[in-house]
Every structure is written in structure tokens, then in C-alpha cells.
């Protein structure tokens, strides 16, 4: 339903603690394309129609690890709840909760290292980091989908941080 006006409060209002009826709640209504657009992006990176072999559970685990790096309490809670709903296996659970990449193995170790760098030190990214993901078994489309997912959570964290500051300042 791409043209349906998304119901509010939406996930961003809730995460940023924007109260219905507050001036910032009303100001967000001035930009329905931002509200709709963020929601469409969330679906596209967390629960896409074609998942390219990256399950929703694994995507939720990577989103939670990214939210942990951004120290965003509301997003940590939300992605934590997503992870519980998807009943992660042990390795996915460790990845989600932020385990040291060296304590993980195979593709989970590669995903953890890449998530940490892209969230915390994106300027350090080089071609060999992509090669490490391919060597761990990811396909090129999966590397692109992973890149979009990581970048989305960093986008969403900044929207939530910025709006919640505006709501309280």
C-alpha cells in the first residue's frame, strides 16, 4: 500500500518520544513524504519482498548491533523486540548483542566486523573489507543489501536523535 498515509504516531514518533499534538508532532505532518519514505525504507531493508537470502531474523540482529553502536535506547528496545520475535539462533543472538567479532566464526564474524566499522568508522572502509564479506560467503547482492541495512539504521538513529532533541529543547 505505497500510497496509504502512514498512521501516526509512527515508529519514529515513538522512538523519539514525540507526543501526539506537540509542535514537533504537527511539524512532521508538513513533510508526509519524509514520514512515508522512512517507513518504506524500513520495510525495504528489514523485511523486503525479495530477501536475497538474508533472513528477517539476521537483518534484525544486524539492526540491533547497529542501534547499540548508536546508543539509541528506543531503537535498541525495538530491534531487541524484533530479534525476540524472530527467535534467533545462538550465533545470530551473539551478533545482535554486540559480541566481539573474534568470539564469532564464519559469516557472523565477518558481519560483526563490517557492522562495527560501517557504524563507527565509515571513513576507514576499503575494498578489502568487501572482499572479506565475499570470502565469508556473501554474494554481491547480499553485500549491497547489508550496506543499505547498516546505512538505514544509522540514518534512522540520527532522525530519532535529532527529533527528540528538538522535542525537548
Amino acid at each position: 500500500m505505497p500510497n496509504k498515509v502512514h498512521e501516526r504516531p509512527d515508529a519514529i514518533d515513538l522512538a523519539a518520544d514525540i507526543a501526539p499534538g506537540s509542535p514537533i508532532f504537527e511539524a512532521r505532518a508538513f513533510r508526509p513524504e519524509f514520514v512515508e519514505g522512512a517507513e518504506a525504507c524500513r520495510r525495504a531493508v528489514l523485511a523486503p519482498e525479495e530477501d536475497l537470502g538474508l533472513s528477517s531474523g539476521l537483518r534484525a540482529a544486524i539492526a540491533l548491533r547497529s542501534a547499540v553502536h548508536n546508543k539509541n535506547t528506543a531503537l535498541i528496545e525495538r530491534y531487541g523486540a524484533d530479534c525476540e520475535r524472530h527467535e534467533l539462533d545462538v550465533a545470530q543472538h551473539e551478533l545482535a548483542r554486540g559480541a566481539d567479532p573474534e568470539t564469532l566464526t564464519g559469516v557472523h564474524a565477518a558481519l560483526a566486523s563490517h557492522t562495527d566499522m560501517i557504524c563507527l568508522r565509515p571513513r576507514e572502509a576499503r575494498a578489502d573489507h568487501l572482499q572479506a564479506l565475499l570470502s565469508a560467503g556473501l554474494t554481491v547482492p547480499q553485500v549491497i543489501a547489508l550496506s543499505e541495512l547498516l546505512a538505514f539504521v544509522n540514518f534512522e538513529s540520527r532522525i530519532v536523535d535529532g527529533l527528540s532533541l528538538l522535542e525537548t529543547t
Binding site: R31, E33, G37, F152, L166
Partner: protein, 196 residues
């Protein structure tokens, strides 16, 4: 305004580290995402690289265009300044150059870009400085933006709607930078290999 040497940046060209989708081999969904037919020739390597995941490509491109080009609200030059601040923190040279050039075009002045390239934020107007410093603080992970940044934007006359536009411009570059820089490299558009 402080007088500074004018700096004009030359455009860069971006090359992907990963093989882009070949149009001849693209699925219908990928072609639809790129909004091209198999006979189309000129689709950038950036678009074809990201078309490996058509769902996210479509959703992000629509949101990006809304954030950077939607009418009213924050002037476009200010959105470009937010994009530039984010790109500097995230280390995306390609995005920094593109959006520095767009800022210079939209503002009809090299002053802001020159001040930033020369590391002279003191030479910025109070309004530009408030925008730039907020953009930098919000782009660090985790964010270091605080109430003082919002207060500085408001003291310089930005409305709530304009600040919401600015937050989106900075945040969408937190996204774009995390694609463009890790997935490829950039070099000057025009070869400068001239004999000394």
C-alpha cells in the same frame, strides 16, 4: 565577512569496487528499479551497483529526492551544507566534493566552501556555523548533538520545520556516505597527467 582565498573544487568520478548489474542481464525488477529499458545506455555505475538490491534502491532514492529537493522549508543551500558536514565526518570525499560544489552554485559564492576547506569555521556566518556544527555533531557515532546545537539554530532564526529538514539532510548523508565511500573509490574527472 573575512576575506579568504577562493577554493573551487574539481568534480570527481566514482568507480565501484563490486561488479555493477549489467543491463543485458538485469531482472525485470532491477530494470524497473532503475526505470530503464534493456536498450538504455547511460545508467551510472553507482545506480547499477545498488540495483543488485532493487527494493532498497527504489525506497531510498525516493526518500533522498524528497529530502534534498522538496519545496519550501529549509533553503536548498542549507541542506547542501548539512550534507557537506556529514560527508566530512564520514570521510566520503566524493559526496563532500559534489555537495560543496552544489552549495557554491546555489549560494553563488565560494566563501563557505573555502572557509571549510581551509579549516576556518571562524570565517563562517553565525547561521552557517550553527548548521555546520550541528551537522558534524549529529554525524558522529553515537551522536554528539545536544541542546546547545538546537538552541544555536533557533537563535539564528531557523523554524522547527527548517530544523526538521536539516536533520533529514544530515541523516540521509549518514546513509549515502555509508554507500558511496565503502562501495567504491573516486578520482578527478579530468586527467591531469600532463608532462611536467
Amino acid at each position: 565577512m573575512t576575506t579568504l582565498p577562493a577554493i573551487r573544487l574539481k568534480p570527481l568520478v566514482w568507480h565501484p569496487h563490486l561488479p555493477p548489474v549489467e543491463l543485458a542481464e538485469a531482472t525485470d525488477r532491477q530494470l524497473q528499479a532503475m526505470r530503464v529499458t534493456p536498450s538504455a545506455k547511460k545508467v551510472s555505475p553507482y545506480v547499477r551497483t545498488l540495483a543488485h538490491d532493487p527494493d532498497s534502491y527504489v525506497a531510498r532514492t525516493e526518500l533522498f529526492n524528497a529530502i534534498m529537493y522538496v519545496r519550501d522549508g529549509l533553503p536548498r543551500a542549507d541542506r547542501e551544507l548539512g550534507a557537506l558536514a556529514a560527508s566530512t565526518v564520514n570521510g566520503c570525499r566524493y559526496c563532500a566534493v559534489v555537495h560543496a560544489r552544489q552549495h557554491a552554485n546555489l549560494s553563488q559564492s565560494d566563501h563557505v566552501v573555502s572557509a571549510l576547506m581551509l579549516d576556518r569555521p571562524d570565517a563562517l556566518s553565525s547561521r552557517d556555523r550553527a548548521i555546520y556544527e550541528f551537522g558534524q555533531a549529529l554525524s558522529v557515532t553515537p551522536s554528539r548533538a545536544g541542546p546547545d546545537h538546537i538552541a544555536a539554530l533557533k537563535a539564528n532564526g531557523l523554524s522547527d520545520i527548517e530544523i526538521i529538514d536539516l536533520i533529514h539532510a544530515i541523516a540521509i548523508f549518514g546513509w549515502a556516505n555509508r554507500l558511496m565511500h565503502p562501495l567504491g573509490h573516486s578520482e578527478p574527472a579530468i586527467s591531469t597527467r600532463e608532462k611536467p
